[in-house]
Symmetry: C2
Subunit: 172 residues, 2 copies
Amino acid sequence: MKYGIAIFPSKKLQDLVNSYRKRYDPHYALIAPHLTLKDPFDVEDEDELKEMTRQIHEISDNIQPFNINVYKVGSFHPVNNVIYFKVKEEERLSKLHEQLHKDELYSERPYTFVPHITIAQKLPDEEHHDVLESMKMMDIDHSEPVDRFQLLYQLENGSWTVYETFHLGKVR
Amino acid sequence: MKYGIAIFPSKKLQDLVNSYRKRYDPHYALIAPHLTLKDPFDVEDEDELKEMTRQIHEISDNIQPFNINVYKVGSFHPVNNVIYFKVKEEERLSKLHEQLHKDELYSERPYTFVPHITIAQKLPDEEHHDVLESMKMMDIDHSEPVDRFQLLYQLENGSWTVYETFHLGKVR
């Protein structure tokens, strides 16, 4: 089964992102706006999943909540036609991402970690550039607290269901 | 903000339900297949949400995991044109539902609790009856364990994002 780990930003930010995704992101209906912490990876075994969940709780217990700051629009072109809100580098966020890929949680990372929230993807080159140009004129500078993230699994239709919530800092 | 509480069944059951919802449920893209524990309710205040979350954890800590058994296809017609997998009555499930509506968690329940997983809704009468007839011939008898449920909130586009996972029985 395919699993992934992501932060869902506030409703306010999700609503804003969705207002663009609706037109420009074919994954609009498959998952809510998010910041990916760990790309899709396979877990086949219930025991493996339990052990992994335990390890992720240990990680989240030991990283305090932080703020994310969305401050500009970027693109991964020419690697792929993704347009995104860039999230400012933040030590705890990088540490969280790092620890979710260490030791037994190792999984491949084809690119360096560029924290982002996707607003458009898979557009043809010309449309990609047009949308990117107009979005770059947007004046965005938004900060908000993050105190949790989610482990999700993918259904056959490509959509994602949340399996478990992890709180940053030990809360219970 | 609108919140709701639901159980997401196993991937296997969600995939089966989605194979019908895709054609017969206009909410297909808004939320994964689920068993509603508490209908949409309003929470306006961050403090109220925190207190409510604490109360729900207390409830979930004190109810042990249980099994759900999906054993037939039903319909809410003529109240509304919902076709669903009926979930057998189960003491802990009823207790959970009851406690999620008690005291400070009070919210209106226009109908008695009929635990179900929606597979079709809002079809015109004739199509509703046709689909129901053919689905009733389905031979379904499926049981699976439930050890968690989710608190979700609704975005402006009508879709639902998970806010927090609650485990049945104290696990951490």
